[in-house]
């Protein structure tokens, strides 16, 4: 696999995290209609405690603009203002498949590499 960077652009850890977060949000939305706060609770449940809650909204705006998700306003049974719900689109599903493929490749390689690193450190220590 080859990665290319646009000139002048540095890939910071926060950008990597953003890309991963976008894939994870897609996966959560693909499991069924949901709203912002619920997504955060689900992310929390999977251990994404490093994600600042507010940071999902700019991402969700972008995902909607790209046509990966759709939104609808729904009245809550308890009354009060409407809540915004997200559902995944067909385009979103195929994007999620791409993400899954990429992620598998990356995570396998990274895990393998890190394991070797860990082993070599153990050997050095011995």
């Amino acid at each position: 696999m080859q990665y290319s960077y646009e000139s002048g652009e540095t890939m910071s850890s926060s950008q990597i995290l953003k890309g991963i977060l976008e894939g994870c949000l897609l996966s959560i939305i693909a499991k069924g209609e949901t709203y912002g706060y619920e997504m955060i609770e689900k992310l929390d449940h999977y251990g994404f405690t490093m994600v600042k809650e507010g940071s999902i909204y700019p991402l969700l705006l972008r995902m909607k603009k790209q046509g990966l998700v759709e939104t609808s306003q729904k009245q809550l049974p308890s009354g009060g203002p409407k809540r915004k719900y997200y559902t995944i689109t067909e385009h979103g599903r195929s994007e999620l498949e791409t993400f899954k493929g990429n992620w598998e490749a990356i995570s396998t390689s990274v895990t393998k590499l890190m394991r070797e690193e860990f082993h070599s450190e153990c050997i050095k220590e011995e």
């Binding site: 709203y35 912002g36 706060y37 955060i40 600042k52 809650e53 507010g54 940071s55 909204y57 700019p58 705006l61 972008r62 603009k65 009060g80 203002p81 409407k82 809540r83 915004k84």
Partner: protein, 255 residues
Amino acid sequence: MNVSKKSETFLESLHLYLISSGKKETETREIVEELRDHLTEAEKEGKNVDDIIGLSPKDYMEQVSREMPFDFRMLFSAFTIFVFGALSYLLLGDIISGGAQLSMIQIIGYPILMVVYLLSLATLLRYTSLHQFDKKKEYMLISVFGFLKISLFIAVISLDQAIDSPVIVFSPLGNIIAALLTIGFFIGASLWAKTWIMIITVLIMIIPEILVQSLSLSEEASLITKSVLIFAGLFLYFWLLNRKEKSKETYATPF
């Protein structure tokens, strides 16, 4: 469903920042309401707005803004309404006090004035929504801005008097057509914007003019009566508006 005062201030700043950055009113309202929903839920669990946005309010607002498209249609409509509104008002005043005439300097000058005015208004609103000010500084900025607006008008008026440019004098029929067009414009724009504010302001400005003319007072007396009536009318109207606004607690929309 209530959020803390701090969250409310943040949401209001965000609303103002996005609108003055030329984002769509509906989309702005949507994201602000979505964040309000989130903040309500989060505050129930004891989290506060700083933990949630993670960045400084300024950085967060800019991040949200980057993901929203610029609304050229709204900018264009706001500009058209401002320019035609100002021109219509000038024309209607002229028509009632005798007959309308427009010089080339006025025709070119007022739209330019409006562009400068709108751009500086947007810049001012963006600036104030990104920064927290004490009241004193806020009043100072607003007065500087008011001064700019008046200077712009004075500049166009003095230019108009200093330089001879071709003048279009309206014929009697032209006056009637212009009157109908301007009245039509005020009604149309008010229907579009779903507000009475423009029509009422115009009425407050125009009615004293008509009244004074029918009274056949001396020039000085009519000028004083007119000014007092207009001032009293505007004061009463804005006082009533302010009371209504306070009683129902909604967003104040700029412009």
